[in-house]
Amino acid sequence: MKYLIDALKNPGGYFASTPLSVVCAVFAAMFFVFTVVYSFRHMSGRKGLWRYYIYILATFLATLGILFSANFLLLLVLWGFLGLMLYLLIGFGREEGTPESARKSLAIIGGTDVLLLLGIVLIWSIRYGSTGLPGFLRLPFAGMGIQLDTTGSVIAYLCLASAAFAKAGAMPFHTWLPDTARDAPVPVTAFLPASLDKLLGIYFLARVTLEVFVMTPAMNTVLMALGSVTIMAAVMMALVQHDLKRLLGYHAVSQVGYMVLGIGTGNPVGIAGALFHMFNNTIYKSSLFLAGGEVERRTGTSDLARLGGLVKAMPMVFAAFLIASLSISGVPPFNGFASKWMLYQGVISGGGTLWVVWLVAAMLGSALTLASFMKLVHSVFLGQPSQISREVIESREKTGFFTILPLAVLSLLCIGLGVIAWKIPFADYFRPGVGGELHMPGIWQSGPATLVLLAGLVIGYLIYLSGSIRKARIVAPFIGGETLEKNPDMRVSGVDFYRTIREIGILKVIYRLAEKKLFDLYEVLQKIAAGFGIVFSFMHNGILSRYLLWFVIGLAVLCIVLI
């Protein structure tokens, strides 16, 4: 209590502001506004909306708290609070009952919160072990520079990193994310897992890596390996998904890989790239989720097999979705490319001996991202309309202003941040946060390049003008003389686009294992727990004394372990 009063008296010791936290806070505020605006329409008609808005507000405030916190313990408390908020917010995805995924995310995030606590304790014991409890409460979240030379410090780093990973959704703590994306209401997904959690996780990881610890090459390699694996594995899983939101959820995981990779380079360029990528990711990912949410609201489903051809019903949403898709796939000159390019520079100059591996994983990951987004674009917006889509198109409902506004702003940001590249956001905000000399081996002049691309578009348009484009005639598609109207089955749904890939060699085995959830930490632990459960049910037979006996034995074992 005393320290709480102390803290209130003297906030400077507990809160601090860095350029990075300021820009993060600005973004968080922006997403907060968008989410609320978007929710007006999307969430209308649901029960307990006041609770929903309070949760959102609380989440936002807690986020601000974390961003400006300069104290580990304060951070820990708010961190845990966010996890709880997420749990509560996921619950709004259903009319009644809390979905399994909410429990899953609470378990994973809560579990890593415990690791976070452990890590903090370890740091305290390394640094201020002698000063006792007061020192623990005052443990500052800045400039410690702990060397990663002892087992304790390595474990402490890994614990903190795990918490960051779980929050951001990097492997191996990613599994809550796709499930959450499927179950939670879209604004929640866009707000928390896609934006704020990423922001916080990567922010935390960057600060821990840069300020609390001094990285070693080995730890860098571990981070980069984790990042690369996250990129590849998540994107491969995303390729074969057939639910819109789940697919986006896997991409939320995959993109974290880039950031982890960037931070793992330990190179100022890489870290700056990672932070830049984090912002870009929150922008286009929110845009994607919001657009996807609109699709789901209008059609009532997010199953790709039942969607298609929606571009006629919602051209604006499609445009935003396409821009965000191109952005996430790293097509120049959108913002995704700018940050990925920086990341690659970091990897090339700071990737160590295995830089080729990381680089190729990241670049291939981006091609695969493009592939899965093309699948989405086809099976949701383009291609032939499904039954549901046809009804939606015929209803002629206009997309609401509150839906368009966030999408439009986000799309503009996608283009804008890409074209001005890192010049403004980077020079003013990330660079002070990162420090060090920035040397980039390559060249990317987004301004001239954009001009050239624009010129290409103009040339194409001129070619069109010289042709007969203005008096275009609408005719039936050519499918060998048959008509689509008579054959509604002649519809490529896009769900099975990459089945061929799935059935190639070793991938077949991996996919089969992944479907059995063998790579899902939570499920595996649950299975193990279920195995224990069988033993337990054998052991408890309903007699109180027996329970007592087990309880005592357990206590004894616990004591022995702890001592």
Binding site: H242, G481, E482, N487, D489, V492, D496, R499, T500
Partner: protein, 394 residues
């Protein structure tokens, strides 16, 4: 989930004739297939009932452009079977020469198209270049490139001039080395192996169940060839081999066809060299009442004609069964489980000829030869020359 119908046809570059195959696919894998034919049905069986026995030959010739020998051959044999009667030995030899020439040109055509379907346009061009030589031989022998108009009940319509024989033999000999080269190019290409081997396998039992015919069944190990089983024409006069392979995949079907060309060339050469003298026509006047069946081995398999006569000069019923009619349904056994890319080549591998399948030619009452092919050809040839001169092309 995710099932889609992919149409192949009716107007599709894969097919010369319109047919609609609907492939039900999951991803790229074909799980079901259905076919809708009838885009080519012209009612030839009915037409044939309206024409005299003599004129029906021309209708039958136009069942199919590629089989323009097989159908008249089977038809004339059916009419001759009504008596039954034998045709003069020289006519038999001439018929055999024409039939084998057609087999070579048909197989080359198939080979070229198969290459085309696989995107291997070089094979397509080479095979068709070679085919032109055979067509030249046919033009020398019959005066026409395709619809030869050589057959009539009781014999042949046109004799082979003795001075043409050495020219033809030379031509046939000249194509053999190129054919050999083509054979090596096709059969030794590793990419082709990867593409064709083990694809669209039809087992022996399936070949029996579907009563598959010709090279399609011979590739599955069914050693059946009408030329051997119930000899006709001059086939029993010489030695030749029936080509049988056992895998039943697309590659084997190609192998059978390519090797058969060599046999055909052998037969053709033998017949030309040993052409006996004598009449070429038995001059049938009236066809007695009765029934006749003629079946011969066309390039694609057995062609079957059934003719019923009531003593007038027109058939009461003329039933035509082209080999594709029996071969085509085998797609059910061969295509399922393959990919779309393979489906197209599997469909092509049975050498489908839908115009045959949808014959039902009807006999025509008229009796006039509706189109004197030769005259028109002559006209068009002159026209072409004129235009060529005008355009300055060679």
């Amino acid at each position: 989930m995710g099932r889609t119908i992919i149409p192949i046809g009716p107007y599709h570059p894969l097919q010369e004739e319109p047919e609609l195959f609907t492939l039900t696919v999951e991803g790229e894998t074909v799980v079901d297939i259905d076919v809708r034919i009838g885009y080519n049905h012209r009612g030839i069986e009915k037409l044939s009932e309206m024409k005299t026995f003599e004129n029906s030959t021309f209708v039958v010739e136009r069942i199919c452009g590629i089989c323009s020998t097989s159908h008249p051959f089977a038809y004339t044999r059916a009419v001759e079977d009504v008596f039954p009667m034998e045709v003069p030995i020289r006519a038999k030899y001439i018929r055999t020469i024409i039939a084998e020439g057609e087999r070579i040109h048909s197989h080359l055509l198939w080979l070229g198209l198969a290459g085309h379907f696989l995107g291997y346009n070089t094979v397509y061009m080479w095979a068709w270049k070679l085919r032109e030589e055979i067509l030249d031989v046919m033009e020398i022998l019959s005066g026409n490139r395709n619809n030869y108009a050589m057959f009539k009940p009781g014999g042949v319509r046109r004799d082979i001039k003795p001075e043409d024989i050495p020219i033809c033999i030379r031509k046939i000999e000249s194509i053999l080395p190129t054919l050999d080269m083509l054979k090596k190019a096709v059969l030794d290409d590793p990419v082709l192996h990867a593409r064709l081997k083990g694809v669209g396998v039809m087992t022996y039992q399936e070949a029996i169940d579907f009563s598959a015919l010709g090279p399609t069944s011979r590739a599955s190990g069914v050693a059946r060839d009408v030329r051997k089983d119930s000899p006709y024409g001059a086939y029993q006069e010489m030695e030749w081999d029936m080509i049988v392979t056992s895998n039943g995949d697309v590659f084997d079907k190609a192998v059978v066809r390519i090797l058969e060309m060599f046999e055909s060339a052998k037969i053709m050469r033998f017949c030309l060299e040993h052409l006996p003298g004598g009449e070429i026509d038995a001059n049938i006047k009236d066809v007695p009442p009765g029934e006749g069946i003629g079946h011969i081995e066309a390039p694609r398999g057995e062609t079957f004609h059934y003719v019923k006569s009531d003593g007038t000069n027109r058939p009461v019923r003329h039933k035509v069964r082209a080999p594709t009619f029996m071969n085509l349904p085998t797609y059910k056994a061969t295509v399922q489980g393959e990919t779309i890319s393979d489906a197209t080549i599997i469909l092509a591998a049975i050498d489908p000829c839908y115009c045959c399948t949808e014959r039902i030619a009807v006999k025509d009452t008229g009796g006039r030869i509706l189109y004197g092919g030769k005259d028109l050809i002559q006209l068009s040839r002159e026209k072409t020359d004129r235009i060529k001169r005008r355009m300055g092309v060679r």
